[in-house]
């Protein structure tokens, strides 16, 4: 098994999905957090492929882009979907959740206070309920997005929802029986449950 080294800032952000996949898979990795970004980041940044973190170093290669890293680790762990079509379904859920996260981010960082309030209202009262209604329809009877087992799709749904929930009011899961099952499957996965208990509290 190759050595895995994940580097990010000291927070959950875009690295957390990778940490969750490692946890679900029970794969050991080095969880490097840039403690003094003002000092250390300017030196490290030019060494990265696209001037960004998270970075995964494996077999002497540097991978960037959190979803690409997460998919790679999920593949190694057998959590990426069994067939190309299953994998495509996993990928589409990931991309959909990325849209959710990006819109939340844009709303959170809006500088104009009045616009921000409007965007927040739209995000919480219109976008999220509508999108989660679509997502709920995509959950199978098994309580998973794809097939009968945990995949990266389920983990991504949990992670983005968890992160968005720190800044925004989420729609109640009671109306989404499928999504509720997905959340339960993810949080009761032994590796993930352990990580959720042990992971550090960080500002983001």
């Amino acid at each position: 098994m190759p050595a895995y080294k994940l580097t990010y800032f000291n927070g959950r952000g875009t690295a957390e999905i990778v940490r969750l996949v490692f946890a679900a898979a029970g794969i050991e990795y080095e969880d490097v957090r840039i403690e003094k970004p003002e000092e250390q980041w300017p030196e490290f940044k030019p060494k990265t492929p696209m001037g960004q973190v998270p970075i995964l170093e494996v077999d002497g290669t540097m991978l960037c882009q959190s979803n690409s890293i997460a998919r790679y680790v999920a593949k190694v762990a057998g959590l990426a979907g069994k067939t190309p079509l299953d994998q495509a379904r996993v990928d589409m859920i990931m991309d959909g959740m990325e849209d959710v996260g990006k819109k939340g981010n844009a709303t959170h960082w809006e500088k104009d206070e009045e616009k921000k309030a409007e965007k927040k209202k739209e995000y919480e009262e219109t976008f999220l309920p509508q999108f989660y209604t679509c997502l709920n329809k995509l959950v199978g009877d098994s309580g998973h997005f794809v097939g009968n087992e945990l995949t990266l799709a389920d983990i991504t749904f949990f992670n983005t929802t968890d992160l968005v929930g720190r800044y925004f009011k989420l729609p109640s899961m009671d109306q989404f029986s499928g999504l509720k099952k997905v959340m339960d499957h993810v949080t009761s996965n032994p590796g993930i449950a352990k990580w959720l208990k042990e992971r550090p509290e960080t500002p983001f």
Partner: protein, 201 residues
């Protein structure tokens, strides 16, 4: 081989690269191009209220990159190992980040603001991106290994879209990136498609 049905608008947008990927390996597919007026009726039938969508033996897949990766796998263009696949994925994700910036100026309604955004994109955002991507491309003109992957095709598709929106060729001076573009446009299936359809896109 499964049956494929791709649905998107007529224009290049987010569907163009998918048609190129099918063409690259000569994979047969039903190429459904809808008018804007048809969209409201189709929208609620899609998984996330968006197109493009790909129907594979009746299963609906949405999201451009998810679809692109699936076609790439079918066409043998996804990468030869999991690590190569991850590298192709990261190149495509970086391009999607750039796409976000393009959408920003594309949808701007205020004409003056739009021109300002295009100027900033052409003079700052895009060159910064291309400097990074020049380093990620090999001297042989590939982003992954030494063979064509969908990462190369996706890059080509982005430049193909931009050529109609920028005053001059943004790839001037970028040796490796020019090679990537050449490798893609001269790939037999793609060259044929471009000859047939390129002008109308």
């Amino acid at each position: 081989m499964p049956t494929y049905k791709l649905t998107y608008f007529k224009h290049w947008g987010r569907g163009g690269v998918l048609r190129l990927l099918f063409a690259a390996d000569g994979i047969e597919f039903e190429d459904v191009r809808i008018e804007r007026e048809q969209w409201p009726e189709l929208k609620p039938k899609t998984p996330m209220g968006q197109i493009p969508i790909l129907e594979v033996d009746g299963t609906m897949i949405c999201q451009r990159r998810a679809i692109g990766r699936l076609i790439a796998k079918e066409a043998g263009l996804a990468g030869k190992t999991p690590l190569e696949e991850a590298r192709a994925d990261m190149i495509v994700d970086g391009l999607a980040d750039l796409e976000g910036k393009i959408v920003d100026f594309f949808i701007e309604q205020d004409e003056k603001r739009k021109q300002e955004k295009i100027k900033e994109f052409a003079e700052k955002t895009l060159p910064t991106f291309l400097v990074t991507y020049e380093k990620l491309a090999s001297s042989g003109g590939h982003f992954v290994g030494n063979a064509l992957t969908w990462a190369d095709v996706d890059f080509f598709a982005m430049m193909f879209f931009l050529k109609d929106h920028l005053p001059s060729d943004p790839l001037q001076g970028y040796v490796n990136l020019n090679k990537v573009r050449d490798n893609v446009s001269s790939h037999p299936g793609i060259a044929g498609w471009l000859e047939k359809e390129g002008a109308s896109q």
